[in-house]
């Protein structure tokens, strides 16, 4: 009986990645100085299961690497090694490395081993520094270069004549060496006797091997472990071994980082599964059960139907409607995932950035259990990371500067997520310096983004930072300040039908608020009609609908119209004009004005009538047709006809274009 282990791989990977997340979270709380036994135990257990799993499935590289981590953690658990900052940092990087290794194994690609060996030797170094600790890897300990990763090794391998008789094969050793890096092997055949005198069981050959790999001495020596005593061996470093100071480490990690990222994106494409909690599935099963009951009740009714039973039929249909809606909601809920998936990587990032920037920041997360659609979740990750980086780099000041203004040296960064209406709101707030309005204005003038003396409201000024190429940072760092980013952030959020707002107070801090629809596939819409044609306006954009009085409508220059709504003048845009539909009515007071808002501007869409409110399933128009300006997509109504969903943001933009042309004409 043979068991195909491959069928368990998926589960192993999922569990391992979960384990890695646990380890990361644990390590981060350690680095904040909360080194309790429980946390270390949790990390240790996660490491242990990954090690066990990987050994079972034959991922020996992973198993070997985790083994060292485990040894180190065991020492920490036994309080023989203190969870110092260096130790925790090494472990954190090892978690990253381990994650990349697992991704590589999962996607069947090769993993750049340099980083792995480097961390390996660093961990060993920590272990070695502690005399009580047993060596994680028993092997030949080399000389002084033991813990340093050299750029290569020259190995003189001179087997004794009886080597073959001990069951060792030099070829196997060479192959093993080849797994570490590039090999250049020279065989010395000078010891070879004339053929007549040769004993086939003796080994006469000698080798001069040059190995190009950043492998530690130990890794090389380990290979020759078996032939220890049966050969003369000398292992010399090729070039000066790089000294493991923090500086060299950081550069090496930076170099090693790109391939790791590449592996990740490969894996992201292949993994498109969701883990759904059992209670969600149970709810679904229940609901389907109810649906079946309703269906059988209705079909029974239909068998011998008479007019007296119309009430029963109506009841049944109402129940069917309720069932369907509940079912739809539960199915959508399957796609919903807590935002903690996104939030969880923030503390780690802040931790790393604080080191780099020399700042002290405390991260507070709340509302991690708020759920949103998986697609939204995937797309919001990067903008979120960018905003947090911005807050850290530009927002929160250095400890000295904070102390000077009487604030606590430790800055606070809060991430909060909550539901509001049909939206999910994500807030990123810091207690830093706030946006510097004058600086933004000056920069915008310098770049020619605004004209001389335009008076701008706060909101308008903050809007400026979303323009492409805008940055007020004096020094461009590798953290932020290149001015690419905020515009990308806004574009990403807009592509999700979301909004981004900024609130800022000088020296009090900045709050960035992102509003996102819960899901992309289904939206609440108001159906409206213009001369018999049906359109859907997404509810999220609608501020209000009104039937104007004739005196509320004012003409401007004979062509444009505005409506007065509680003291505000809002431009009236007729949908029939934008869409070139023959109009049925042309006077706003005969129809309805729907006030819609997008990109901070309000327009009053003039339509014939409001039909109702629906939940509509968004269908792409582009899959078989092309993108049409002003149209976000289409949906199928209850009667099977197609209704067009309006793209309010595009309509607002469209409405402005001819207006701008008019202004040019006038000037």
């Amino acid at each position: 009986m043979s068991i195909n282990l491959a069928q368990f791989h998926q589960t192993f990977f999922e569990e391992s990645f979960e384990g890695l997340d646990t380890m990361e979270a644990g390590l981060l709380s350690l680095s904040e100085g909360r080194a309790d036994a429980d946390t270390i135990n949790t990390i240790f257990r996660a490491t242990h299961s990954i090690k066990g799993g990987s050994a079972t499935f034959g991922f020996s590289a992973v198993a070997k690497f985790t083994h060292v981590m485990e040894t180190l953690l065991d020492e920490m658990r036994g309080e023989r090694i203190a969870p110092s900052e260096t130790t925790v940092n090494v472990l954190l990087r090892s978690v990253d490395c381990l994650r990349a290794m697992l991704e590589a194994v999962k996607s069947n690609t090769t993993f750049d081993e340099a980083l792995q060996h480097e961390l390996y030797s660093e961990m060993q170094h920590i272990l070695d520094a502690n005399p009580d600790a047993p060596a994680a890897v028993s092997g030949i300990k080399g000389g002084g270069t033991k813990s340093a990763a050299a750029s290569g090794w020259t190995i003189g391998f001179r087997p004794h004549a009886h080597l073959l008789r001990t069951g060792n094969d030099p070829l196997r050793l060479l192959r093993e060496l080849g797994t570490l890096g590039k090999l250049n092997v020279k065989a010395d055949v000078s010891g070879l006797p004339p053929f007549a005198e040769m004993n086939p069981e003796n080994c006469y050959l000698r080798w001069e091997i040059s190995l190009r790999a950043a492998a530690p001495h130990q890794a090389v020596a380990e290979i020759f472990n078996w032939v220890d005593g049966d050969c003369d061996l000398d292992i010399r470093a090729n070039a000066e071994p790089s000294v493991s100071t923090p500086v060299s480490i950081s550069t090496e990690t930076a170099q090693a980082a790109p391939p790791v990222k590449a592996e990740r994106s490969v894996a992201a494409e292949s993994a498109a599964s969701i883990r759904v909690s059992t209670d969600k599935v149970d709810a679904l099963v229940n609901m389907v059960g109810e649906l079946v009951i309703t269906q059988s009740m209705l079909s029974q009714l239909g068998e011998d139907f008479s007019m007296e039973r119309i009430l029963k039929l109506r009841d049944g249909l109402a129940q069917l409607e309720r069932n369907t809606r509940e079912l739809q909601e539960s199915v959508m809920r399957i796609r919903m995932m807590p935002i903690s998936h996104c939030f969880s990587r923030i503390p780690r990032m802040v931790h790393d950035l604080c080191h780099k920037l020399g700042k002290k920041v405390e991260v507070r997360l709340s509302g991690e259990q708020t759920e949103l659609d998986k697609t939204v979740l995937e797309k919001i990750g990067d903008p979120l990371v960018h905003l947090v980086r911005n807050s850290l780099d530009h927002g929160i000041e250095k400890p000295e500067a904070r102390a000077a203004t009487g604030k606590s040296e430790i800055g606070t960064l809060c991430l909060n997520a909550f539901h509001k209406g049909g939206n999910i709101v994500i807030e990123i707030s810091d207690d830093g310096a706030g946006l510097n309005k004058d600086k933004i204005l000056a920069k915008a003038k310098e770049r020619g983004l605004i004209k001389g003396d335009e008076p701008l409201g706060d909101e308008k000024i903050y809007e400026l930072i979303f323009l492409p190429g805008f940055s007020t940072a004096e020094v461009v760092s590798d953290v932020s300040g290149r001015g690419v980013g905020m515009d990308v952030v806004r574009r990403n959020i807009k592509s999700l039908n979301g909004k981004i707002e900024i609130e800022s107070q000088a020296s009090k801090g900045t709050t960035i608020r992102i509003r996102l629809p819960l899901t992309l596939a289904i939206l609440d819409g108001m159906s409206i009609a213009v001369n018999g044609q049906m359109f859907i306006i997404p509810l999220t954009f609608i501020a209000e609908s009104l039937q104007p009085k004739p005196e509320d409508i004012q003409g401007i220059a004979g062509r444009e119209r505005v409506v007065r709504v509680r003291g505000d003048y809002v431009p009236v845009i007729a949908l029939y004009e934008l869409f070139n539909i023959p109009p049925r009515i042309t006077q706003p007071e005969q129809g309805i004005l729907v006030l819609v808002e997008a990109e901070g501007r309000k327009i009053a869409l003039f339509i014939d009538e409001i039909m109702g409110q629906h939940q509509v399933v968004l269908k792409s128009l582009e899959s078989n047709y092309r993108k049409v300006d002003g149209i976000a997509g289409a949906t199928i109504m209850g009667d099977g006809t197609v209704a067009v969903i309006l793209d309010v943001a595009a309509l607002v933009r469209l409405s402005r274009e001819p207006r701008a042309a008019l202004q040019r004409e006038a000037a």
């Binding site: 869409f579 792409s620 078989n624 993108k627 149209i631 289409a634 199928i636």
Partner: protein, 172 residues
């Protein structure tokens, strides 16, 4: 240039397969009879409830719901200025599967599926600017009637149809 020829041959199985005969679906526009490669046809259905799309050319009638997918409908009679444009229960829509898209095409009527041997197909003559012969595979003869064979994939993905955002390079 070579690549272009290759795609031409792919789109035109007659040349590629030499002696083999091909099946064409024939349809009428006004008094003219057309034929298109039957393998591009997904189904044939009646004309009903089309939802207009704003600011689109007159020959794009709008979109319909074809079992949950949104399919644009093109009226070839308007596009080619042929036949009387009226919509009744006899109006026929040919649903095509071209360039990985589903497109509906309104014609006056669908007549037959016929098989043409290569020797029954003559190359299309040049017409100057009045009609773009790039979209023609040739002219066929059946019972002394002339059949205009169109390369429907090229036609539908051509720039002047405005059906697709990215116009296929082979249309050029």
């Amino acid at each position: 240039m070579k690549a272009q020829q290759a795609t031409n041959e792919m789109a035109n199985p007659i040349h590629a397969e030499g002696g083999l005969s091909n099946e064409f679906l024939t349809f009428t526009l006004g008094k003219e009879e057309y034929g298109l490669d039957i393998l591009k046809v997904q189904e044939i259905r009646g004309y009903d409830a089309v939802t207009a799309i704003a600011n689109s050319p007159a020959f794009i009638k709008g979109v319909i719901n074809l079992r949950g997918i949104i399919v644009p409908i093109v009226d070839m009679r308007i596009k080619f200025n042929l036949g009387k444009v009226e919509y009744n229960e006899y109006t026929v829509v040919i649903i095509l599967n071209v360039a990985n898209r589903v497109v509906g095409m309104v014609v006056d009527g669908v007549s037959d599926v016929i098989t043409l041997k290569p020797d029954q197909i003559k190359p299309a003559p040049e017409f100057g600017s009045a009609f773009d012969t790039r979209y023609l595979t040739g002219l066929g003869t059946v019972d002394n009637r002339m059949l205009i064979l169109v390369d429907i994939e090229k036609l539908m993905s051509g720039r002047d149809m405005g059906l697709m955002d990215k116009v296929e390079a082979q249309g050029e």
